[in-house]
């Protein structure tokens, strides 16, 4: 019994993965190589050309999504790091209050939060109207349906996923380590770059994983805040699936997106990944 215990413990999680990840993936792989339409039915023909065709047809949207994901991730790190740092080191006894504030937007529906941006940022809305009448921005200035709005929406919606892991990593940094560095004549800046930053990199790494992947696949922000030139690959998959009922193309696009992201993430992990991060921390 005792020997079996580890396996029994992993059983629920393993079953979960098998049923809700592996099985659907196999079905999706099968669907992606079928041919036909919803009226006449789909037939398995192992038609792999759909992958190439879809990639060629939607290259722009793929590249655009990757670009948006990248920019939004960089902006998120730039915003999240100082916030996490401040909470971890200067938060004092109110740390948990600040963390709650970071998480507070999650208590409102994701879509509702994004839709309310439309009200705030409307051309004649409460924000732009006064700016326009004061002459601070030109009359035809707008935020909605621009790239900035979409990336802004992405950052806004995923920022907590960046803050939390960085915070956890920084929180674990023993203040005495920083003191030791200073005792060894490190300036404050050096103490940060040589001690605190390397120790917090695993948090940044986790944060990037947790934000880049969903941001690149996101379609709600582009759908609500974007314009004709902001369509992301997620919107295309949604259209192929729900509007065109072209399940093979939708499945092929999903797989391509997943593969591209896995490759990207592995490359990133190799370059800046866990091992290097740990080495940096050990130095």
């Amino acid at each position: 019994m005792r020997r079996l215990a580890p396996y029994l413990l992993i059983l629920p999680g393993g079953l979960w993965l098998a049923i809700f990840l592996v099985v659907p993936m196999v079905f999706m792989a099968s669907v992606s190589t079928q041919e036909g339409d919803v009226v006449n039915g789909f037939v398995q023909t192992f038609n792999f050309s759909v992958y190439g065709d879809a990639l060629v047809q939607y290259r722009t949207q793929f590249l655009r999504s990757a670009g948006y994901g990248l920019v939004a991730t960089v902006v998120s790190v730039a915003l999240a790091y100082p916030m996490a740092y401040w909470i971890a080191f200067k938060g004092g006894p109110r740390k948990s209050t600040y963390l709650l504030l970071v998480l507070l937007p999650f208590f409102v529906s994701f879509v509702l939060r994004t839709v309310s941006w439309k009200f705030l940022l409307a051309d004649d809305g409460m924000l732009l109207s006064p700016l326009k009448s004061m002459g601070l921005v030109p009359g035809d200035f707008h935020v909605l349906q621009t790239t900035v709005a979409v990336i802004g929406g992405l950052v806004y919606n995923y920022l907590p996923f960046m803050i939390l892991p960085i915070y956890v990593a920084l929180e674990r940094v023993d203040p005495r380590v920083v003191e030791a560095a200073q005792d060894l004549y490190a300036a404050r800046r050096e103490a940060f770059t040589k001690v605190v930053l390397p120790l917090s990199l695993p948090g940044v790494f986790a944060g990037v994983l947790m934000t880049f992947v969903p941001m690149t696949a996101d379609y709600v922000n582009a759908g609500i805040l974007g314009g004709p030139e902001n369509t992301m690959i997620g919107n295309i998959i949604q259209t192929e699936y729900l509007v065109n009922n072209d399940y093979p193309t939708a499945a092929a696009l999903s797989f391509t997106l997943m593969a591209a992201m896995l490759v990207g993430i592995f490359a990133y992990a190799r370059a800046l990944g866990t091992e290097n991060v740990l080495e940096a921390a050990a130095r």
Binding site: P24, G36, D37, L112, K118, V220, N244
Partner: protein
């Protein structure tokens, strides 16, 4: 029935919520329904038109169950607080209890969710639903997902429906559907920024760069592309589609189009994001009734008339009860209750006099509001407007593929 709440206000509230819900459905649709669909294997089989005997046999074996599950669009029925007066009268008259749900936010998502269930012959949870004439309804008919109607049990429809809504091209002889409401797609504009609009070409006017709203729905946007070239969508060919696609692409590439909108174009118009936009008649009627300074026109080149149709899914548990409701709402008295709330075009012309009679009895705001309804060309369109209106084209699956490949790159670049 006069609503105690301002309908426009209610509609405004539910609209922002409806966007939320619709997007939430999409999320759910892409995961849960997707898995269900993959699990069932992707099915689909075209069926022959139903044989007359088979239809008669089907209906002969149906019993009234005194239950009805009705799926409809938000704010598409008369409401008094949480009650539905017309449905309560139906229950009183027939003994049929109705579970009414505002379950349909748009045709594509609803069809996307129901298709796997219907393909697998499973109950979808509704006995009656409302679908717009268009690609999804055509697919539902082609796939045999809808019960052919027994017209001997629809005497009120035969007697009271407008000639114009009978025997539509997408469902000859009303074999599977009869209308719930009818609406127009035209142009709405804000007179503060835009001078009197008469032509569809105003949507291509460089003066309104970045302030033009177009619709995301390919059939809607394609129709306007075709109208702008003087082509009747019903008679259009693939070559016409390509020309219309080019024309729409020009408009987009010139930076004229702010966005290809779904229902949210109304908010964009009200908040000044767009000044001129493709629009649905009922939405604009509501905004005007609420006091917004907006105008709606059917452009001289043409506008679209569409119909939201009642139909019975083949897995309905209570088809006879559904059929009884379909006929019940064609009594002029009931149709009047509906149109006074819904503010789209009613398929029952006799309602106009009844609304005026209600207005004569009413006082103050109610009276004004009812008179506005009876006199509005958005609810009772003029003959000149009617002459300019065209339907969506009915497309086969093969045609649809070509059609979408032309117009989707316009709206989703």
């Amino acid at each position: 029935m006069h609503h105690s709440h301002d309908p426009a206000f209610l509609r405004g509230m539910t609209q922002s919520r409806s966007i939320t819900r619709r997007d939430a459905f999409r999320l759910a649709g892409l995961s849960a329904a997707g898995l269900a669909l993959a699990g069932c294997g992707v099915q689909g089989k075209k069926v022959e038109p139903p044989k007359v005997d088979a239809v008669a046999d089907f209906w002969a074996s149906q019993k009234k169950n005194d239950l009805l599950r009705f799926a409809n669009w938000p704010l598409y029925i008369d409401k008094d607080g949480k009650r539905y007066p017309s449905l309560e009268m139906f229950t009183a008259d027939t003994g049929i209890k109705v579970t009414y749900q505002e379950a349909i936010q748009d045709n594509t998502t609803f069809f996307g969710k129901m298709q796997p269930l219907l393909a697998a012959d499973n109950d979808i949870g509704y006995d009656l639903m409302v679908l717009t004439n268009g690609l999804q309804l055509s697919k539902a008919i082609a796939l045999g997902y809808l019960v052919p109607l027994d017209h001997s049990k629809l005497p009120n429809f035969a007697a009271n429906a407008a000639q114009k809504v009978k025997n539509p091209t997408w469902d000859p002889n009303n074999t599977h559907t009869i209308p719930w409401t009818v609406g127009l797609t035209g142009i709405a504009y804000n007179p503060k920024y835009v001078d009197g609009v008469t032509s569809i070409q105003d949507l291509w006017n460089p003066k309104y760069k970045g302030k033009v709203g177009m619709m995301l729905d390919t059939q809607e946007v394609a129709n306007f592309g075709l109208f702008s070239l003087g082509i009747d969508p019903d008679k259009s060919t693939e070559a016409d589609w390509r020309k219309a696609g080019e024309k729409l692409k020009e408009q987009r590439d010139a930076g004229l189009v702010r966005k290809y909108y779904e229902n949210d174009y109304v908010d964009a118009l009200v908040r000044g994001d767009v000044w001129i936009t493709m629009a649905w008649s009922g939405d604009i009627f509501q905004q005007v009734a609420e006091g917004k300074d907006l105008k709606f026109v059917v452009p001289e080149e043409g506008g679209t008339i569409w119909t939201d149709n009642m139909c019975i899914p083949k897995t309905a548990q209570n088809p006879l009860d559904a059929l009884m409701l379909m006929d019940y709402v064609y009594q002029p008295k009931i149709a009047t209750m509906l149109v006074e709330y819904i503010n789209y075009i009613t398929p029952v012309p006799a309602t106009k006099d009844l609304i005026l009679a209600d207005a004569a009895k009413a006082k103050g705001d109610d009276k004004a509001s009812l008179e506005q309804i009876a006199k509005s060309p958005l609810i009772f369109p003029s003959e000149t407007d009617m002459a300019k209106l065209r339907s969506y084209q009915t497309l086969t699956t093969a045609e649809e593929k070509v059609f979408e490949s032309i117009f989707q790159p316009v709206t989703q670049g």
